[in-house]
Symmetry: C2
Subunit: 362 residues, 2 copies
């Protein structure tokens, strides 16, 4: 008699299309569990959203983190809505979770899915030229949350943003990045910085990068300035494989990467606590998209891909085949042309979701 493992998932659909794609992801996850049979999911739904904030004045309750801590993973839709200033919504929900749950790594893979097109002419004949994985430092740097304002409401206002980089924080992200690069066929890591203009934290990044590189003689490595990196991504996508960058640089580069691979709607992200003391969080990188919210046309692929990464993480090596199965299902569906508008298709969220479920069922 085989036992069924139960994974407890904290689901935070959030705002706008976040709720639509979370629902779709749950449908797909349940189908995957059903077909696999060795595990199932149990969800707690958290209505932590901008809508709720407008009604009651808070996103997360005081014991919010303790509630999340009771779960094996967090599945996040999207947060942000025009009637709440972004810096309030984000610092009330997604950013504190990343920090309090020690999710110091954010993993963002990018490639061109079958049946979809990159906006770059050079990727038309061979989509495999663009296949990257961006490792984003997710706990400090430009998102340290410090800074302030002096002489507010005066003609002389001064406001600051303080980016904080620690050796401990840099070392751990570099090791994760080198390990990631080492596990991929090309064994190649590109580190991004802006150490020519920023002489303190960025110079420390460079220094620690080259130190950690010595532990990985089998990983080819190079360094790019963030501005020049955008040029290389556009002109020589095939020259890149694994990329490591600061919180802000990787935020920018991962959106660019998603756009170059075809659509921001397909891009997944995993906010990981590699120590596994806290639940990790999985979310598509797109936002709540007020312009298309409520219409049922959001692309659920980024949500499904994030779900696949969640299954991989939860399985700790034992569910890789199941995660791959989901990825294969997604790819079969895009290849067959069942795609949303952003991928030049004409299917809606429901149609894509059902098509992926059918593929899983086969």
């Amino acid at each position: 008699m085989s036992s069924t493992q139960t994974f407890k998932i904290a689901a935070i659909p959030g705002d706008g299309i976040g709720t639509e794609i979370t629902q779709a992801a749950i449908q797909v996850l349940d189908k995957l569990a059903e077909v696999d049979g060795s595990f199932k999911f149990e969800y707690t739904n958290f209505d932590w959203s901008s809508k709720a904030y407008k009604e009651r004045g808070w996103y997360m309750p005081p014991d919010g983190m303790a509630q999340l801590q009771k779960h094996d993973a967090i599945y996040f839709g999207a947060v942000g809505w025009p009637d709440v200033p972004d810096h309030i919504s984000l610092w009330s929900l997604i950013l504190p979770i990343r920090k309090d749950m020690n999710q110091y790594v954010n993993v963002r893979p990018t490639r061109i899915l079958p049946g979809t097109r990159s906006p770059l002419s050079s990727c038309q004949s061979d989509p495999s030229t663009l296949d990257w994985i961006i490792i984003r430092e997710n706990s400090e740097g430009e998102y340290a949350g410090q800074g302030g304002t002096t002489h507010e409401n005066s003609p002389h206002t001064i406001a600051t943003e303080l980016a904080i980089f620690s050796r401990v924080g840099i070392e751990r992200i570099m090791r994760f990045a080198f390990e990631t690069a080492k596990a991929r066929p090309r064994k190649k890591l590109t580190m991004v910085t802006k150490s020519n203009a920023q002489r303190h934290g960025m110079v420390l990044w460079d220094k620690v990068f080259y130190e950690v590189a010595e532990e990985y003689p089998d990983v080819e490595h190079d360094k790019m300035l963030v501005d020049a990196m955008t040029v290389r991504m556009v002109n020589n996508p095939e020259s890149l494989d694994t990329i490591v960058a600061t919180n802000l640089h990787a935020d920018i580069l991962s959106d660019l990467a998603a756009a170059l691979s075809g659509s921001i709607g397909i891009a997944p992200s995993s906010n990981l606590d590699p120590t596994r003391k806290h639940p990790s969080m999985f979310e598509p990188i797109h936002g709540s998209a007020p312009d298309i919210a409520g219409k049922g046309v959001a692309n659920p692929v980024g949500a499904f891909w994030s779900a696949a990464e969640m299954v991989r993480w939860l399985g700790q090596g034992k569910l890789d085949g199941t995660a791959d199965k989901l990825m294969q299902a997604i790819e079969n569906v895009t290849k067959a042309g069942v795609k949303t508008r952003d991928l030049a298709g004409n299917s809606n969220t429901k149609e894509v979701t059902e098509a992926v479920c059918r593929e899983i069922g086969i």
Copy 2:
């Protein structure tokens, strides 16, 4: 009898291809002056370079700024060489000049030149879809130069970068940006920020932007987050016209813009002191390119375009026709296929330079 005006130019060729393209730009500028007849240039050549630094230990002498101040404009090639750490070379030359000379605006136009191709499929049939001008804050923000390191050489090193934004600094760049937008046919300004993650300086940017916008009711304006902006640049280039962003964001976005328009080798920049109390500085946005330096194959188009902007600035409205003539010459040459390798041509620096001079002479 007509008098000839003399413009005193401080030429700083710098490193690598910086010296090659500065020489080419001077040749073209002299030809332009000769054909025009109403003005001429007088150059002081400053050997402030990484090579000189290695020999004598400094880039600029102690009275370097006073020497520059005696000129009407500064023409800059490129600085940086592998044997000097970038943060030393740049903080010894280009960055202090921008600051000490009060060049608080950096203007970076981008478009697809005739006879050249964008890497974006969507721009192939109609190159006019990409026609932007990026206004970069050039005096503060992430390049304020502050920050430091604590517990150096310890496992607990902490290093910081302090971005400083002042209301005065933001207001003046916003006004310049609105004026620029207003003078262009589409009268459209997009402001870039990261105010969802950075709650102090970036929120002040937003606030001042909307305040200044009220003074320009005839300029259409909108706001983008820097990460989403890269997506818009790739997917909807035609939706953008004038763009204003912080020192770092605009640094990144202008490199991306140059790549999307065909090559970093064509992109110009003007570091302006709008008060005209100090000389402004003109430089192509590319670097010293150690990989191709000394081979005579560098693309001089970015240098020529920067030279055209210098003429426009020096003329204060009276030499616009002459600047346009240089731009027309550049465009005739690219259209005729006389292009360097980065633009898929096979001409060298000398051939492009001579072709542009011939066009000016006609």
